[in-house]
Symmetry: C2
Subunit: 349 residues, 2 copies
């Protein structure tokens, strides 16, 4: 590869705006000096922030964007401002192959709509999906998709998500044959919606693909480390992801209360602190930041709006890993393979 | 009230079977001596267990049931064995008004199907829902429904769940005007499925009802204590409930690992233990055991299959509280009220 992955960064997105995005890029560059960045945003503000990070200037370009997408802006309105906004211009850089991936911490719905319009879905993909990594008790994280790009999904969508999610697992988790499960409300074959049962039937037949379909799983199994890719519709996926985030925060809030409840427990906390810091690292959402839109002709990564510089650096790392592993090509090959077999067997929809 | 709530108990359901059910009943009776139990199950085994609990015999009856429903039995098959199984006979006791509520720790799908067939849905309710209490950071628990009785729901179902859930909140949490929200993947009005948007529109108009509709909420807000009743379809509700259970266990497993990781943290754990026990109590699913089928002409409570005697006692307490508060009548009044207004305004479906 020429210099290294070229990342187009929407400098205006995210709750803490320019400063977290640029501090995150600086952090990412220290770890991986071959990275190349172009920042899109209000140029004077971006340049001001860049001044604070001495390692940055040689590696970066800044492109002035007169506008930014608002956090509550409707996707239908956002797509009309693709050419003048930092988000739209970053995506456009991927479309015109001036960048290998785009990164934004802004409005997810707008990012999705603009990316879909500019980059189009890959041949064989009806709808792109949003995928992310979640922590588990096992050796590696688990990938879950879709996390909210598609409120309702049919069986074909779910099968395509399985193909995309397992390509992602091969690239990012380095698992040669990922274990894939469908999220359901029970593990028996008769459980769940018609779409889930149909998707399970299609996946059971697709044993020539580079993953192992293991049937259904339930919400309480997500973090047990028994599955590599969990496939679901965007509504349930979003509910599961946010419920997991909320519950982790709930338990740690209770823990904090418990430790503060007496002098004795405060002393216990002080003693246990080094060990508890490991727990904190494991649960810190910044260490899992970087959700990916899969299924487009180009890479777009969503950073959490409230991500710290560490979180932004992690999302940049996710983007760079996908570029280096050429994930778009891997998904394409798996899809071709799936369609060739499905047509041969007469089971294509 | 005559003697006190009469509870019909399926002694054969649940993973640990007869012993947990009867030990739980004994525990419940010590707390609330006015309770009256009838156990349905294999009579010799039930009598053996009862022998171990000296406080039980005066308050209880045993009715022999020749069969029991299997954990994996299909609901369609189970309903044919209503007259000969411990689960079916307990439900039938409610139907024939020999009991005020039925309790089972067995197969949820079978319990639902049998209850619906024997007790029928209340006038104005199209589908019953499964409701339970979840812990929060606030003063009281939050009620969530549906938790899995209905895989797909329309707007009318969701509105009926809101009415039932808020009646339940008034009875069990003693909140005069509960705050009700719909679970969604965003809080903006344009988010989510058509069913959710329609249900929100209907609920916003129903300001004469004994609850306050507060719009949409997301998975990460369930445990924040900002809402009393969370309404959702059975698929999403089940995913959210199980993800919350799984994540709580995940965090406490990580915590256990952290405490065991060094001598120093072990000492810290020993010091903090009394405080950590409070956390354990707060998160123990047995303290939240007892999911309720709402919307039937009679009360049926589902105890978790793996509930301890403490958990079973808690589920019995839930059943008794509902009987004492005459929840079926309260739901009926709210529904009549809703329909009267809806017809007057021409918005009834």
């Amino acid at each position: 590869m020429y210099g290294g992955p070229r990342i187009a960064i929407d400098a205006m997105g995210g709750d803490s705006g320019v400063s977290a995005m640029i501090a995150g890029a600086s952090r990412a560059l220290r770890k991986d000096p071959s990275l190349r960045f172009t920042f899109y945003g209000d140029e004077p503000r971006v340049r001001d922030e860049i001044e604070r990070h001495k390692d940055l200037p040689s590696a970066i370009d800044v492109v002035h964007s007169p506008e930014a997408i608002e956090p509550s802006e409707k996707p239908s309105q956002a797509i009309r401002r693709a050419r003048t906004t930092s988000m739209g211009m970053a995506i456009n850089a991927v479309k015109e192959q001036r960048a290998d991936a785009a990164l934004s911490g802004g409005n997810t719905g707008a990012l999705m709509a603009m990316s879909k319009l500019a980059l189009r879905t890959m041949p064989g993909i009806d709808r792109p999906a949003l995928a992310a990594l979640l922590p588990t008790l096992g050796e590696t994280d688990v990938i879950m998709l879709d996390l909210g790009a598609n409120t309702e999904c049919d069986a074909q969508n779910l099968v395509q998500f399985a193909v995309m999610g397992s390509a992602y697992a091969r690239c990012v988790l380095a698992i040669p044959k990922p274990r894939v499960k469908l999220l359901n409300i029970g593990t028996e074959e008769l459980k769940g919606t018609g779409e889930l049962k149909d998707a399970a039937a299609l996946l059971r037949e697709a044993d020539y693909l580079a993953f192992r379909f293991d049937g259904f799983t339930e919400g309480d199994q997500l973090s047990r480390g028994q599955v590599d890719v969990v496939v679901t519709d965007g509504f349930s996926g979003n509910i599961a992801l946010k419920t997991a985030e909320g519950t982790a925060r709930f338990v740690t809030d209770l823990l904090r209360r418990a430790f503060k409840s007496s002098l004795r427990s405060k002393a216990g906390f002080a003693l246990s602190q080094p060990a508890l810091n490991l727990l904190k690292v494991h649960l810190d959402p910044n260490n899992h930041n970087g959700a990916v839109f899969l299924g487009l002709n180009g890479l777009v990564v969503k950073s959490h709006g409230s991500a710290s510089p560490k979180g932004v650096a992690n999302a940049i790392h996710v983007a760079a890993t996908m570029v280096r592993n050429d994930i778009t090509r891997k998904i394409g090959e798996d899809l071709d393979n799936f369609r060739a077999h499905a047509f041969a067997n007469g089971t294509a929809a």
